[in-house]
Subunit: 157 residues, 2 copies
DNA sequence: GAGTCCCTTGTTACGGTATAACGTTTTGGG
DNA sequence: CCCAAAACGTTATACCGTAACAAGGGACTC
């Protein structure tokens, strides 16, 4: 089964209108608190991610950017910034990016990814706390963690 | 700190000689048991992965394949096969592939990846068993799992 | 206000990653 | 032998991401 095969793919609900404005303005505050700048391109990419409400490919962001689109480095730089500050995550197994529902708080990411409709759910990283024990046992200093589970969401089962 | 910065990058010890032959012949047995075929290209790619003893990029496999190299689809098909049967894993965060030390037994993969020397250690997937609970709570049917931890291995600390 | 620094951006071009689509060959079973 | 399924070879192309360098712009000092 591949993505889009089951007819549920339209379900991801992104932000719009007032909720979107509020999220962006909230982001502006937290960026300022971190002594960084939420520039136009960074704000625009975050806006696109929030509107999408789910994983988005980098080149879709590039195409949707507006004014005829943006050049790749513009979007990739913005994504790097958003990841660094915890506003977005990269989904390694999809080559896609997603806005973080716990925006602004830097944390490890863990996801459930529906193979059918493409929806994602971010879950609590504590579920993988056992990794710390394993890392310790190997003399390994843990710095970051990616956990991506594939399967079927409730709607697609 | 980026890969290769600390001078430990040569440590991954791959298989060679008799051990390599033994591993390949063992693989042949398990492939046959699964009612599949270990063809020349599949065998060659597995051999390259085992020799490397660590993550290898697809295009390095293509270049190293021999006889002037192979075409991309040849190697990607072999990798897909090896993954399907549990002889190799894809490291999503590195765009690389690695032979599986528990070859032939299909299982979830979990890795510690050294950001300095590039070495990887495969750890037991039980460390992430809590994901099953989270998936259940979301009504999510779990089918596969990727866990990749980044940090520093003992030698590089 | 001129100089300077650093961060951010714009732009071009390129390299690495992976797959589509096709026809051909091999394999194993009837 | 003949057929169907699996595997392969080949060409071409699409997708993903970054290198490199020039230029803008705000904050700070002198």
């Amino acid at each position: 089964m591949s993505k889009g095969a089951c007819g549920h793919e339209g379900e991801a609900a992104g932000l719009a209108g007032r909720a979107l404005d509020a999220a962006l303005s909230e982001a502006g505050v937290r960026v300022a608190a971190a002594d960084e700048r939420l520039t136009d391109s960074r704000r625009r990419v975050l806006e696109l991610l929030l509107e999408a409400g789910g994983p988005v490919k980098a080149y879709d962001l590039i195409a949707a950017y507006g004014q005829g689109g943006a050049k790749p480095p513009t979007v990739y730089r913005a994504l790097e910034f958003l990841e660094r500050l915890g506003f977005a995550h990269r989904l390694e197994s999809l080559n896609a990016y997603v806005a973080c529902p716990r925006s602004g708080e830097v944390h490890a990411a863990a996801f459930l990814i529906c193979q059918c409709c493409g929806a994602t759910a971010e879950i609590e990283p504590e579920v993988s706390a056992g990794v710390e024990v394993a890392a310790e046992a190997h003399g390994f200093e843990l710095r970051g963690l990616t956990l991506e589970a594939r399967g079927l969401c409730g709607a697609c089962r």
